[in-house]
């Protein structure tokens, strides 16, 4: 398993110069006050691994990590972020580089890190709890490895939609055939689907009129045609007459169709609707309002689904209902117009069918007869296509002017309709001039009718059968999709149950003996993905925790959820162990913060953690707890001493600065010596500021320098810690005179200070080095701090450096082993119990006061 060895950042966020955060494959606890650049390292990790920074990208329009990531004094060209791993080749992955050539375990690590499921920031703590069920599911979704099944579900949904489309088309085809049958037989449109008996009755009527017997079934159509052929035989060859008669009839049907009221009335009804909507409601988004009400009511939203503004759900629902009611007439008109569009489309489809038939019929005519008919069919086909195209799209997309132009092509006074009428009249004239008695004409018409209806009846049976078959398929497709959704939801609920148990375990560990918990994530039935969050509070069960929990409890709940999710995700990708918590303990009190620290150190000890905090007390607690949890070696505790816009966060260790002073005294310039000595003394004073609780005049940004800290330090040591003062008097008094040297030479470019000698700088640096040796213990790597007891004593953690309280013997701090012995093993048996620790800390504090 690979771990991070080092993070190098330059020119990004608050880091201007090249700065390294050393992990050494361990976890890092990073302390720095607000605005000292802690989050810059977290941002850098996120940018490098995911290409984004969640606090910038997508936060607001115009804000992005590409634009706002580079340091404000540097262009993007100097930006560099790189992580070095602990593999034998110490592979480095830098921003903008290609991972393809890297070792497979590093590539696997980078793949796992590509999606940010391991960084939690302060502003995200409550995000999950505060989000709406749909957004909450969206937040959870990346943790769930459901990509494959979602693709399957998507395919099933597409199959369902396609099956539904096919079934609808089949129904429309069937309806069209039926309307053709109605038209052929002159049946009223009130007969929505004429039965076989009704069709037979109409056909029998036509047969009887030409002296034939009625028929009893569709199967009799063939014999009826034979009978008609026999009746026509005495009249000789009537094939030309038959062809012309067919074309004449079809042309008549086309005229009938183009002048039908649904076609002519459609343009008017569309115009009326569009005028009314423009006049009374502009564009009235009925579907948006209806869907909005559904979301607000079903998901109990308290923000607008469109703009996320806060809303009062009941008021909005009432207003929307009232608006829908006001617009009832428009809603009604919209539905009628939609119906008219569908009907018109059907009419045009019928025209297309008739034109196909007309084309066949014209082709079968003699070349003289079809000379005018063929171009007419082509022109009609083109015109119908233009009309069809004008009707494509949703109701709101239809362009009235375009439709008017298209429809004018076949209007009553159009040239095309005149040509149809003229052609029909022309063919009728030919027919009348041909030698066929009137009786033969009528028998011929009956014969053609029988043939057409016979074909149409076959078409209808096919269409009905297809409609039924596709209807069954569509119904099955719906069941498949619903079953897939249900299966996914049940499985996800299983995962949620597992997660809920872990969230609950974490939460109750942070809040033992408190009468709440029972945290539960639930998949909601509505929508594609939606998740509820419930919890118990005393006797209240399954409540929204926001209703009862304090901010601090909601904070720890948010952290518990994130940690449970991170742990769950680790199960899916065991070789990826990074966990980043960026200053997440803002409103959590010390007691719960200590419990969280213990939980992290014990239950997440096999993670590489980057933990940042601006809370000095918690930082110190965390360092203590590391020892108690026996994971001190797993952690590097880093402190950002100060931050400036030019230099960024100052992460140097005091030991390094001490060594650097010795080197510079041998070979550095006076200015270099003074700068380094100034840094070290500032470093020491920052530590002393906290441990000795120095009284310093507050400054904006808490950016204290030597001039702010030294007088308070010197006065406090002199007054409250005389044994240190007596021991270090020469050094302290010397520094009390010399500390301004740093500012003369090192920090400011005062012309008058240019003549300060190197010797003066060396004297200053030596005094700083001596002070460091007096207050920093190289064994336990801690600065001295006031002992809890006796009051007035200063000591490092291990007791190697002790400055006793006035008039008292030095008292060495007790080791953990000594404490275990004193408590007769209670501390060890308690397995690092937080309560015992807190009791001990409180007792210490009590003794101190």
């Amino acid at each position: 398993m690979r771990r991070i060895q080092r993070l190098d950042v330059r020119g990004f966020r608050g880091v201007q110069t090249q700065t390294s955060l050393l992990f050494d494959r361990r976890s890092v606890l990073l302390f720095g006050e607000n605005g000292t650049g802690k989050s810059s390292f977290v941002d850098a990790i996120e940018k490098l691994f995911t290409g984004k920074v969640s606090t910038l990208d997508g936060r607001a329009q115009g804000i992005s990590s590409d634009r706002h990531g580079p340091h404000i004094h540097n262009g993007a060209s100097t930006l560099s972020i790189a992580i070095t791993f602990d593999d034998p080749g110490t592979t480095t992955f830098a921003l903008g580089s290609n991972a393809n050539g890297l070792p497979s375990d590093i590539r696997e690590y980078l793949t796992s890190a590509r999606e940010n499921l391991y960084i939690m920031r302060r502003r995200q703590v409550l995000e999950f709890i505060e989000s709406q069920p749909r957004d909450r599911y969206a937040n959870l979704r990346p943790f769930l490895p459901l990509t494959e099944i979602e693709a399957v579900e998507n395919a099933l949904r597409q199959a369902r939609e396609k099956a539904d489309d096919e079934a609808q088309k089949a129904t429309q085809d069937s309806d069209r055939v039926i309307s053709q049958i109605r038209r052929e037989l002159g049946l009223p449109s009130s007969l929505v689907a004429p039965s076989e008996q009704e069709v037979l009755a109409a056909l029998s009527d036509a047969l009887v009129k030409v002296g034939q017997s009625p028929i009893g079934g569709i199967q009799d159509l063939e014999s009826a045609r034979n009978n008609l052929d026999q009746a026509l035989a005495p009249f000789g060859d009537l094939s030309r007459q038959s062809q012309i008669s067919n074309v004449t009839r079809t042309l008549g049907q086309l005229i009938e169709l183009f002048v039908s009221p649904n076609l002519t009335g459609f343009v008017n009804s569309l115009q009326e609707f569009q005028d009314r909507e423009a006049r009374e409601a502009r564009v009235f988004y009925e579907a948006v309002l209806e869907q909005g009400i559904r979301w607000i009511q079903e998901e109990r939203r308290e923000t607008c689904p469109l703009c996320q503004s806060q809303i009062k759900p009941d008021e909005v629902a009432t207003q929307v209902q009232a608006r829908l009611e006001e617009m009832r007439e428009i809603v009604q008109l919209r539905r009628q117009t939609q119906g008219a569009v569908e009907q018109t489309r059907q009419t045009i489809r019928s025209a297309q069918d008739l034109l196909v038939r007309l084309g066949r019929e014209v082709d079968s005519m003699t070349s003289d007869d079809k000379a005018r008919g063929k171009p007419l069919v082509q022109d009609l086909t083109d015109a119908v296509k233009v009309i069809w195209d004008s009707l494509t799209g949703q109701l709101r997309d239809l362009k009235l002017e375009q439709i008017k132009t298209a429809f004018s092509l076949v209007a009553t006074d159009s040239s095309l309709l005149k040509r149809i009428s003229a052609e029909r009249a022309h063919l009728e004239a030919i027919l009348n001039s041909l030698p066929s008695p009137e009786v033969a004409q009528r028998i011929l018409s009956a014969r053609n009718l029988i043939l057409r209806v016979k074909d149409l009846w076959i078409d209808r049976q096919r269409a009905d059968s297809r409609t039924a078959g596709l209807g069954k398929q569509a119904a099955v497709a719906v069941r498949l999709h619903e079953n897939a959704q249900a299966a996914r939801k049940e499985e996800v609920q299983g995962i949620f149950d597992e997660l809920s148990e872990d969230i609950n375990n974490i939460y109750t560990r942070l809040h033992p003996d408190e009468s709440h918990g029972g945290v539960r994530l639930e998949v909601r039935d509505v929508g594609q993905g939606s998740a509820n969050l419930k919890a118990n509070f005393y006797e209240r069960q399954d409540e929204d925790p926001r209703g009862y929990y304090s901010d601090a409890h909601l904070d720890t709940l948010g952290i518990s959820i994130f940690l449970a999710l991170r742990r769950w995700h680790r199960q899916q990708r065991p070789s990826f162990d990074l966990l980043v918590l960026d200053d997440v303990l803002t409103s959590v009190d010390t007691e719960h913060a200590v419990r969280l620290s213990e939980l992290l150190l014990q239950e997440f000890k096999d993670y590489q953690i980057l933990l940042t905090t601006h809370d000095r007390i918690w930082f110190e607690h965390m360092r203590d707890i590391q020892s108690r949890c026996r994971v001190a070696n797993n952690f590097i505790n880093k402190m950002i001493h100060k931050w400036t816009i030019e230099e960024g966060p100052d992460l140097r260790e005091p030991e390094d600065e001490r060594k650097e002073i010795d080197r510079l005294i041998s070979e550095g310039s006076g200015k270099e010596i003074a700068i380094m000595a100034g840094r070290l003394v500032e470093h020491i004073l920052q530590e002393m500021r906290y441990s000795l609780r120095l009284s310093v005049q507050a400054k904006r940004g808490e950016n204290y320098e030597i001039g702010d800290l030294w007088p308070a330090f010197y006065a406090t040591v002199k007054k409250d810690y005389p044994s240190l003062y007596n021991h270090a008097r020469t050094t302290l008094d010397a520094l009390d005179v010399r500390w301004p040297v740093r500012n003369w030479i090192g920090a400011h470019h005062n012309q008058w200070a240019q003549n300060v000698s190197r010797t003066t700088a060396i004297d200053f640096a030596r005094a700083v080095g001596d002070l460091y040796d007096l207050v920093f213990c190289g064994s336990c790597r801690r600065f001295i701090a006031p002992s809890a007891t006796p009051l007035g004593q200063l000591s490092c953690r291990c007791g190697e450096k002790i400055y006793p309280a006035p008039g008292k013997e030095a008292v060495r701090p007790k080791s953990r082993e000594e404490l275990i012995k004193e408590t007769e093993g209670a501390l060890r048996d308690a397995r690092l119990d937080s309560d015992l620790y807190l009791t001990w800390k409180r007792a210490e504090a009590g003794r101190e006061h």
């Binding site: 099956a163 398929q473 099955v476 497709a477 499985e491």
Partner: protein, 65 residues
Amino acid sequence: MGNVLTIDERIVERFLNKLKSDQAVPEEVVDSLQELIKAGKLKDADAILRAISKGVTEHAKNTAP
């Protein structure tokens, strides 16, 4: 050690079990879908439609009087 199913596989298995107990889904459709799963084509909407069509047709044949 037996095979541990992934979450996706568990969901597909649960899905098939649901289909088997769903009276509205013919057995023949479930068989066709299982063939589709074996062929790794459950993410292809057209293949699903064909499987449904095949299953429904076979079911009609098998249940014809």
